[in-house]
Symmetry: C2
Subunit: 125 residues, 2 copies
């Protein structure tokens, strides 16, 4: 089987890191399905996440490894990791210990875009 | 208000494109909450999506603009666009015209990762 076919249909985990060595990581609440945040993972973050069960990432803006909640305590307990067809994106199904957003919001996605700009969405949506 | 504070708490849409001119775009089913796919958008893709109501992206691998479903017919009708705290990631809430994945799967995230590699997840999960 070609690498491409194996990557799409096979049982081998062959993560396809991008030119900066990163995978996209979508964090979704394991029970409600709400998308809580988005970040990137390098190989170290992925290994730390798998080893500890808590979500770790690579910060592009700060240029460092980080564990979500390392200062706030609002860690993310990873229940399941889904992998997409070409293995360059992950969905982390998590149970959050608190608000996922550093602003204190439950999710980082607390605004919607319309023709006039951004407006808050109901937090119980 | 500083740019950073306005970006996080304000009503202005100030998309923060990365060094390659891209935003992360998470596609989520508007009714079921299932994450269907992940891709990137540049400014043109974002404008085309807002103008047409159908999801458009930038393909990093092919180096071109594309509309999801332009060949398959499996377009994504965008119902709502959510924006995250630092405005570098979007959630597109969509109603899909067919399978979202080019493999024919409903979602690109059809496998889960465990200690032994990847295995299929039930499609009605």
């Amino acid at each position: 089987m070609s690498d491409s076919a194996e990557r799409e249909t096979g049982g081998s985990f062959m993560p396809k890191f991008d030119s900066q060595g990163l995978l996209a990581a979508i964090v979704q609440h394991a029970e409600t399905g709400e998308v809580l945040m988005f970040a990137f993972m390098n190989d170290v973050a992925l290994e730390q996440t798998r080893a500890t069960g808590k979500a770790h990432f690579w910060s592009r803006s700060r240029g460092k490894q980080w564990m979500k909640g390392e200062t706030s305590g609002n860690t993310l307990a990873v229940q399941q990791i889904l992998v997409d067809c070409d293995q360059d994106a992950l969905v982390l199904k998590v149970l959050p210990a608190g608000p996922a957003c550093h602003t204190g919001q439950r999710s980082c996605f607390y605004r919607q875009l319309d023709e006039n700009g951004l407006s808050p969405i109901p937090t119980d949506a």
